[in-house]
Symmetry: C2
Subunit: 120 residues, 2 copies
Amino acid sequence: MLTKVNLAEKLAQFGEHWSPKIVGELNDAYVKLVKFRGEFVWHHHADEDELFLVVRGSFVMHLRDGEVRVSEGEFVVVPRGVEHKPVAEEEACVLLLEPKSLLNTGNVRSERTIDRPERI
Amino acid sequence: MLTKVNLAEKLAQFGEHWSPKIVGELNDAYVKLVKFRGEFVWHHHADEDELFLVVRGSFVMHLRDGEVRVSEGEFVVVPRGVEHKPVAEEEACVLLLEPKSLLNTGNVRSERTIDRPERI
Protein backbone atom coordinates (compact mmCIF):
# COMPACT_ATOMS: atom_id res chain seq x y z
CA MET A 1 0.00 0.00 0.00
CA LEU A 2 0.97 3.63 -0.37
CA THR A 3 2.31 5.82 2.36
CA LYS A 4 0.27 9.00 2.63
CA VAL A 5 2.13 12.09 3.86
CA ASN A 6 0.25 14.81 5.71
CA LEU A 7 2.27 18.03 5.49
CA ALA A 8 0.89 19.58 8.70
CA GLU A 9 1.64 16.43 10.70
CA LYS A 10 5.19 16.32 9.41
CA LEU A 11 5.72 20.02 10.10
CA ALA A 12 4.59 19.47 13.70
CA GLN A 13 7.46 17.01 14.17
CA PHE A 14 10.31 19.51 14.10
CA GLY A 15 11.08 23.09 15.01
CA GLU A 16 14.58 23.92 13.77
CA HIS A 17 15.03 26.38 10.96
CA TRP A 18 17.07 25.74 7.80
CA SER A 19 17.16 21.99 8.40
CA PRO A 20 15.31 20.21 5.58
CA LYS A 21 13.68 16.88 6.42
CA ILE A 22 13.08 14.18 3.83
CA VAL A 23 9.37 13.27 3.70
CA GLY A 24 9.17 11.45 0.38
CA GLU A 25 11.06 10.38 -2.70
CA LEU A 26 10.30 9.71 -6.31
CA ASN A 27 12.52 8.97 -9.26
CA ASP A 28 15.87 10.69 -8.50
CA ALA A 29 14.38 13.35 -6.24
CA TYR A 30 13.53 13.93 -2.60
CA VAL A 31 10.51 15.79 -1.30
CA LYS A 32 11.59 17.74 1.77
CA LEU A 33 9.99 20.05 4.28
CA VAL A 34 11.89 22.94 5.81
CA LYS A 35 11.18 25.86 8.08
CA PHE A 36 12.79 29.16 7.19
CA ARG A 37 13.35 32.04 9.57
CA GLY A 38 16.01 34.69 9.21
CA GLU A 39 18.53 34.75 6.41
CA PHE A 40 20.22 31.88 4.58
CA VAL A 41 23.57 32.03 2.74
CA TRP A 42 24.10 33.00 -0.89
CA HIS A 43 24.76 29.86 -2.92
CA HIS A 44 23.94 28.06 -6.13
CA HIS A 45 23.60 24.47 -7.29
CA ALA A 46 25.72 23.78 -10.36
CA ASP A 47 23.67 20.86 -11.69
CA GLU A 48 20.28 20.95 -10.02
CA ASP A 49 17.07 22.95 -10.38
CA GLU A 50 15.24 23.36 -7.08
CA LEU A 51 11.52 23.89 -6.39
CA PHE A 52 10.23 25.89 -3.39
CA LEU A 53 6.48 25.60 -2.65
CA VAL A 54 5.23 27.60 0.32
CA VAL A 55 2.93 25.59 2.59
CA ARG A 56 2.57 28.26 5.31
CA GLY A 57 3.74 31.87 5.65
CA SER A 58 5.94 33.57 3.07
CA PHE A 59 9.58 34.31 2.30
CA VAL A 60 11.61 36.41 -0.09
CA MET A 61 13.92 34.71 -2.58
CA HIS A 62 16.84 37.06 -3.16
CA LEU A 63 18.61 36.83 -6.49
CA ARG A 64 21.53 38.85 -7.80
CA ASP A 65 19.15 40.75 -10.11
CA GLY A 66 16.17 41.25 -7.81
CA GLU A 67 13.89 39.48 -5.35
CA VAL A 68 10.60 37.61 -5.37
CA ARG A 69 8.20 37.17 -2.46
CA VAL A 70 6.71 33.69 -2.40
CA SER A 71 3.59 33.15 -0.28
CA GLU A 72 1.37 30.26 0.74
CA GLY A 73 0.11 28.40 -2.32
CA GLU A 74 2.89 29.70 -4.57
CA PHE A 75 6.08 28.15 -5.89
CA VAL A 76 9.26 29.13 -7.69
CA VAL A 77 11.87 27.02 -9.42
CA VAL A 78 15.45 28.24 -9.08
CA PRO A 79 17.33 26.99 -12.14
CA ARG A 80 20.76 25.39 -11.79
CA GLY A 81 23.57 27.88 -11.63
CA VAL A 82 21.45 30.77 -10.36
CA GLU A 83 22.67 32.30 -7.10
CA HIS A 84 19.95 32.66 -4.50
CA LYS A 85 19.38 33.37 -0.84
CA PRO A 86 16.03 32.80 0.89
CA VAL A 87 15.10 35.24 3.65
CA ALA A 88 12.07 35.01 5.96
CA GLU A 89 11.18 37.76 8.43
CA GLU A 90 8.74 35.36 10.09
CA GLU A 91 8.67 31.60 9.99
CA ALA A 92 7.79 30.09 6.62
CA CYS A 93 7.09 26.39 6.00
CA VAL A 94 8.29 25.28 2.58
CA LEU A 95 8.12 22.09 0.54
CA LEU A 96 11.28 21.48 -1.49
CA LEU A 97 11.68 19.23 -4.46
CA GLU A 98 15.24 18.56 -5.47
CA PRO A 99 17.54 15.87 -6.83
CA LYS A 100 18.91 13.48 -4.21
CA SER A 101 22.39 14.74 -5.00
CA LEU A 102 21.62 18.30 -3.89
CA LEU A 103 23.45 19.84 -0.89
CA ASN A 104 21.39 22.53 0.85
CA THR A 105 24.15 25.16 0.69
CA GLY A 106 25.17 24.20 -2.85
CA ASN A 107 28.66 25.45 -3.72
CA VAL A 108 29.23 26.88 -0.24
CA ARG A 109 30.11 25.19 3.03
CA SER A 110 28.85 27.01 6.12
CA GLU A 111 27.41 26.33 9.54
CA ARG A 112 24.14 25.91 7.68
CA THR A 113 25.41 22.98 5.61
CA ILE A 114 23.57 19.73 6.28
CA ASP A 115 25.26 16.72 4.73
CA ARG A 116 22.68 14.11 5.69
CA PRO A 117 19.15 15.41 6.00
CA GLU A 118 17.04 13.50 8.47
CA ARG A 119 14.09 11.45 7.24
CA ILE A 120 10.90 11.96 9.22
CA MET B 1 14.25 36.77 -12.71
CA LEU B 2 12.17 33.86 -11.51
CA THR B 3 8.64 33.08 -12.55
CA LYS B 4 6.40 32.69 -9.54
CA VAL B 5 3.45 30.33 -9.91
CA ASN B 6 0.30 30.90 -7.88
CA LEU B 7 -1.64 27.63 -7.73
CA ALA B 8 -5.07 29.23 -7.23
CA GLU B 9 -4.57 31.56 -10.20
CA LYS B 10 -3.55 28.68 -12.44
CA LEU B 11 -6.48 26.54 -11.26
CA ALA B 12 -8.84 29.38 -12.17
CA GLN B 13 -7.66 29.19 -15.79
CA PHE B 14 -9.25 25.86 -16.67
CA GLY B 15 -12.28 23.76 -15.85
CA GLU B 16 -11.89 20.39 -17.59
CA HIS B 17 -11.36 17.27 -15.56
CA TRP B 18 -8.57 14.75 -16.13
CA SER B 19 -6.59 17.15 -18.32
CA PRO B 20 -3.27 17.96 -16.63
CA LYS B 21 -1.74 21.37 -17.39
CA ILE B 22 1.99 22.02 -17.21
CA VAL B 23 2.72 24.88 -14.78
CA GLY B 24 6.43 24.42 -14.18
CA GLU B 25 9.46 22.27 -14.87
CA LEU B 26 12.64 21.33 -13.13
CA ASN B 27 15.35 18.86 -13.99
CA ASP B 28 13.61 16.09 -15.99
CA ALA B 29 10.19 16.66 -14.47
CA TYR B 30 7.05 18.67 -15.03
CA VAL B 31 4.89 20.20 -12.33
CA LYS B 32 1.27 19.90 -13.46
CA LEU B 33 -2.12 20.85 -12.11
CA VAL B 34 -5.16 18.72 -12.75
CA LYS B 35 -8.79 18.63 -11.68
CA PHE B 36 -10.26 15.23 -10.89
CA ARG B 37 -13.95 14.39 -10.87
CA GLY B 38 -15.40 10.97 -11.43
CA GLU B 39 -13.34 7.90 -12.16
CA PHE B 40 -10.11 7.56 -14.12
CA VAL B 41 -8.85 4.38 -15.85
CA TRP B 42 -6.73 1.67 -14.27
CA HIS B 43 -3.14 2.06 -15.49
CA HIS B 44 0.49 2.01 -14.44
CA HIS B 45 3.70 3.74 -15.50
CA ALA B 46 6.46 1.23 -16.20
CA ASP B 47 9.38 3.57 -15.55
CA GLU B 48 8.10 6.55 -13.61
CA ASP B 49 7.11 7.29 -10.03
CA GLU B 50 4.35 9.89 -9.77
CA LEU B 51 3.52 12.34 -6.97
CA PHE B 52 -0.06 13.51 -6.21
CA LEU B 53 -0.39 16.46 -3.80
CA VAL B 54 -3.93 17.61 -3.07
CA VAL B 55 -4.34 21.39 -3.27
CA ARG B 56 -8.12 21.45 -2.77
CA GLY B 57 -10.72 18.78 -2.00
CA SER B 58 -9.89 15.09 -1.76
CA PHE B 59 -9.82 11.92 -3.85
CA VAL B 60 -9.37 8.20 -3.37
CA MET B 61 -6.41 6.43 -4.94
CA HIS B 62 -7.51 2.92 -5.77
CA LEU B 63 -4.85 0.22 -5.84
CA ARG B 64 -5.19 -3.46 -6.52
CA ASP B 65 -4.64 -4.18 -2.82
CA GLY B 66 -6.69 -1.39 -1.25
CA GLU B 67 -7.39 2.31 -1.40
CA VAL B 68 -6.13 5.53 0.18
CA ARG B 69 -8.03 8.77 0.58
CA VAL B 70 -5.80 11.79 -0.04
CA SER B 71 -7.03 15.16 1.19
CA GLU B 72 -5.92 18.79 1.01
CA GLY B 73 -2.37 19.15 2.31
CA GLU B 74 -1.53 15.48 1.76
CA PHE B 75 0.44 13.65 -0.90
CA VAL B 76 1.15 10.13 -2.08
CA VAL B 77 3.80 8.79 -4.41
CA VAL B 78 2.72 5.95 -6.68
CA PRO B 79 5.84 3.93 -7.47
CA ARG B 80 6.56 2.80 -11.03
CA GLY B 81 4.80 -0.39 -11.99
CA VAL B 82 2.00 -0.04 -9.46
CA GLU B 83 -1.50 -0.09 -10.97
CA HIS B 84 -3.67 2.76 -9.77
CA LYS B 85 -6.94 4.54 -10.49
CA PRO B 86 -7.84 7.90 -8.95
CA VAL B 87 -11.51 8.47 -8.16
CA ALA B 88 -13.08 11.71 -6.91
CA GLU B 89 -16.74 11.93 -5.88
CA GLU B 90 -16.43 15.72 -5.91
CA GLU B 91 -13.91 17.90 -7.70
CA ALA B 92 -10.37 17.66 -6.38
CA CYS B 93 -7.50 19.93 -7.45
CA VAL B 94 -4.19 18.10 -7.50
CA LEU B 95 -0.56 19.02 -8.13
CA LEU B 96 1.35 16.33 -10.00
CA LEU B 97 5.06 15.89 -10.20
CA GLU B 98 6.22 13.46 -12.83
CA PRO B 99 8.98 12.83 -15.38
CA LYS B 100 8.51 14.64 -18.68
CA SER B 101 8.26 11.25 -20.38
CA LEU B 102 5.11 10.26 -18.48
CA LEU B 103 1.82 9.68 -20.31
CA ASN B 104 -1.23 10.33 -18.13
CA THR B 105 -2.83 6.95 -18.85
CA GLY B 106 0.48 5.06 -18.65
CA ASN B 107 0.29 1.67 -20.33
CA VAL B 108 -3.29 2.20 -21.50
CA ARG B 109 -4.70 4.24 -24.36
CA SER B 110 -8.22 5.55 -23.77
CA GLU B 111 -10.38 8.57 -24.42
CA ARG B 112 -8.64 10.01 -21.36
CA THR B 113 -5.18 9.84 -22.94
CA ILE B 114 -3.58 13.25 -23.44
CA ASP B 115 -0.47 13.11 -25.58
CA ARG B 116 0.52 16.76 -25.33
CA PRO B 117 -0.51 18.44 -22.11
CA GLU B 118 -1.15 22.16 -22.47
CA ARG B 119 1.15 24.63 -20.75
CA ILE B 120 -0.65 27.40 -18.88
